[in-house]
Symmetry: C2
Subunit: 138 residues, 2 copies
DNA sequence: CTATATGCAAACCATTTGCAAGAGA
DNA sequence: TCTCTTGCAAATGGTTTGCATATAG
């Protein structure tokens, strides 16, 4: 389908813009994350690209994160996982049972956040919202 | 003032209820966190209670977290810090400059969150909202 | 008195780093 | 060709664990 290939080419363009090289390794790691239906730990990513060294997986994940292609998800128990950022701005619904993560965006929510920040004299640069619970399948 | 002493006695009651002992160590760690005006890393907590072994600081922080007396704050760069949970439900304004953390609560925000969860058929157990930026003092 | 909590040091484990070889542009 | 990237292995550093001792109840 076109969405995944556009993700790849978007990322390649981004890499180029930022002065990084387009390599099979980077494509591989990105594809592994994109193919998963839930956020992966570093170890899980590593398992999906056995030919790539662990150190490189760490380096690549950090790079993709800096580029905003993937984002870090903190689970309720503190565990760290990575998912594709499908939309530029969104929040997460994280299921404690099956570990699935659903993205959503809510202008209403964001408005409340901006109002709150303004009321506190806070200059907002970013924000995260994570909802934990049980998804409709569990 | 009475608020800090009530925190202490509340915590002691909680410890007792959950079958844990009230010790000078636990009081010390709690006081150290309570006295700080911004969230502390494990190391910073440890520095403030030099007589308590690092391993015990880890154990105590984990315990206080389980009891809901303190909560973990994830910084934008991934760093982990701990603050007192002064109110049962709140969110955080985290300053990237000075590291200060301000708590706030917003019924409006929480309502938007609940609506969003409901719309997704999600059974909410918990949620976190972290706003990153620059506080009014910076 | 008995079970829990603590300190210390060793063990663990995820992540980072240095360096030489490999690969993109 | 020249620089960026990767793999490997070693170093690192934060966190956990085992066990003997101390202490709350």
């Amino acid at each position: 389908m076109s969405s995944s290939s556009s993700l790849l080419s978007q990322t390649e363009a981004l890499l180029e813009t930022e002065g990084h090289r387009i390599t099979a390794t980077r494509r591989g790691v990105l594809k592994a994350i994109a193919a998963a239906d839930s956020p992966l730990t570093i170890e899980e990513i590593s398992d999906r690209v056995p030919d790539i060294g662990r150190a490189t997986v760490f380096r690549t994940v950090k790079l993709l994160q800096e580029l905003g292609v993937i984002c870090r998800v903190t689970l309720e128990n503190g565990g760290i996982r990575y998912v594709l950022s499908t939309s530029s701005h969104h929040h997460h619904l994280i299921c404690n049972e099956c570990g699935s993560v659903t993205e959503f965006s809510s202008p209403q929510l964001d408005q409340a956040i901006h109002e709150e920040a303004e009321a506190a004299g806070f200059e907002l640069s970013n924000h995260t919202v994570e909802l934990y619970g049980k998804c409709k399948h569990c």
